[in-house]
């Protein structure tokens, strides 16, 4: 009856773990490890300069740009590490693994799609960020709906999605705005670092 809760929790943890195991095994230069740490730190503290502006945070923007330049695997690790570290400051809870999965998948998706030409156009990137603003919110809704509402019905999902729609929309709009205005600039900054130190991603 109530098995959704522990099973969904275990499944999420099990889906994050392989990325970290791979990160441990992979042959990486010291530069790449420090770069991963720096981008995760930027993502974790990205909320600070925006504290005065509610509903806007550049963490997702940073995670997407990291995935685009460093590739899918590093993108996942950067996104999920930013989530776990910001929660070390803000407080861990049952939502931590879901947040790690949501931000990790955002970086992963950006990395997987980075060879597509439209991901290098401002509007393509903005559309990607807009979609992921909603996907992030929906992944975070899942832990609540799957774990705590029963029986699962379309009303349960619709209700949760409607309740979070305002936040998801402002997240999506913020992502799109950041990517539109600053995506090119960050792409140049990160690309230069990658070239300068011979890190060609994966």
């Amino acid at each position: 009856m109530g098995h959704y809760l522990p099973i969904s929790f275990l499944l999420v943890v099990l889906s994050i773990l392989p990325f970290y195991l791979r990160f441990e095994r992979r042959n990486m230069k010291a530069e790449e490890i420090v770069l991963v740490a720096s981008l995760a730190a930027l993502g974790a503290m990205g909320r600070v300069p925006f504290a005065a502006i509610p509903g806007v945070q550049p963490t997702s923007f940073i995670v997407i740009m990291a995935g685009l330049t460093l590739g899918a695997e590093s993108g996942f690790v950067i996104g999920s590490t930013a989530a776990i570290v910001s929660n070390l400051f803000l407080g861990q809870g049952p939502w931590t693994p879901w947040q790690m999965l949501a931000w990790g998948s955002m970086g992963l998706a950006a990395g997987l799609l980075r060879r597509l030409p439209w991901m290098h156009r401002p509007w393509g990137r903005a559309a990607f960020g807009f979609v992921w603003g909603f996907l992030y919110g929906w992944i975070m809704n899942l832990w609540f709906v799957l774990g705590f509402l029963h029986p699962l019905s379309w009303q349960a999902f619709a209700g949760a999605f409607a309740a979070s729609a305002y936040f998801d929309l402002s997240h999506a709009l913020a992502n799109a705005t950041f990517l539109l205005l600053f995506g090119g600039k960050w792409s140049r900054i990160l690309g230069r670092v990658v070239r300068k130190f011979g890190l060609l991603g994966e």
Binding site: G2, L5, F9, I33, V34, L42, I53, A156, F178
Partner: protein
């Protein structure tokens, strides 16, 4: 208090809390949840006199209440209709389901709150470092970088202010200004991080396996607790797979039958930290009175 359960080896503490959270998620039954919730409240009192709880209890209750309210609103299953909301029936079964799962969430949050005090940051890093050394290393670097980046950001903002580039004003203008600061910060940080990597390699990073500084020794007591936890986990897990400690909600509520040995094992798991703390206090009293 600093001794007692708090001084347990991180591995045993992590096993204890993972088990606790797993069982609480699994065994949604009033008697089980009340036992776990009561023990965790006592543990909070023992750990810091309830200071952390004093700040967080409203949030824990609010999240539990949200679940309790949301379920009857979205679920119409169940045979006992209490009334109608618009034209949707509200059933007793979905209300009870919501209440119990709300309680589950609150108890889980209590558990996370206690775990945060017992498995402090250094213990967390020790645990991560034993299985995932590179990940732990990255987390340490991030933990160092976050305050450093905040300081750098303040410096950049101060410089921008003297140049008259921080005007404030409209929302869009403020977002743009904050982002300009972030652009400067990322260039500075990435440049610096590469110097850091060069310095790391110069001091021998990657020339062999990483050694770790382990401040925790597995003592006889820790091994004893690990064996005890293992011995308790087996019957609890087996009983839970057998269906003990779980209610049936739909279409009709089942009874609340308790299988006492299973419940006893679970209760012992929940009460273990409290018992350890009480034992420690007693022992201290005895030693003190001898001198």
């Amino acid at each position: 208090m600093t001794g007692g359960f708090r001084s347990l080896h991180p591995l045993a503490a992590a096993l204890y809390f993972s088990g606790l959270v797993l069982f609480v998620m699994w065994l949604v039954h009033p008697a089980y949840l009340l036992a776990a919730g009561g023990c965790l409240l006592l543990l909070h009192l023992q750990l810091d006199g309830g200071a952390a709880l004093g700040k967080a209890w409203k949030g824990y209750l609010a999240m539990g209440a949200l679940v309790a309210l949301a379920n009857p609103l979205v679920s119409t299953r169940g045979a006992t209709i209490l009334g109608y909301l618009g034209n949707r029936p509200v059933t007793l079964e979905s209300c009870v389901y919501g209440l119990l799962f709300g309680l589950t969430l609150s108890v889980m949050l209590l558990g996370f709150g206690a775990a945060r005090q017992v498995i402090t940051l250094d213990r967390f890093l020790y645990l991560t470092g034993t299985g995932l050394p590179r990940t732990a290393f990255v987390i340490v670097m991030v933990l160092r970088l976050v305050p450093l980046l905040k300081r750098r950001l303040r410096e950049i903002a101060a410089a921008a202010k003297t140049q008259g580039r921080l005007g404030g004003g409209k929302r869009t203008a403020r977002i743009r200004e904050a982002m300009e600061l972030l652009n400067t910060l990322v260039v500075w940080t990435l440049e610096e991080s590469l110097h850091m990597a060069v310095a790391m390699r110069a001091s021998g990073y990657g020339s062999g396996p990483r050694s770790t500084f382990a401040a925790y020794r597995m003592e006889g007591r820790d091994k004893g607790v690990l064996v005890l936890l293992g011995g308790l986990a087996l019957p609890i897990l087996a009983g839970s797979l057998w269906g003990r400690g779980q209610m049936v909600f739909y279409p009709l509520l089942s009874g609340l039958e308790l299988h006492l040995p299973h419940y006893g094992a679970f209760l012992f798991w929940c009460a273990l930290p409290i018992l350890m703390n009480i034992g420690e206090t007693l022992q201290w009293q005895i030693i003190k009175s001898k001198t």
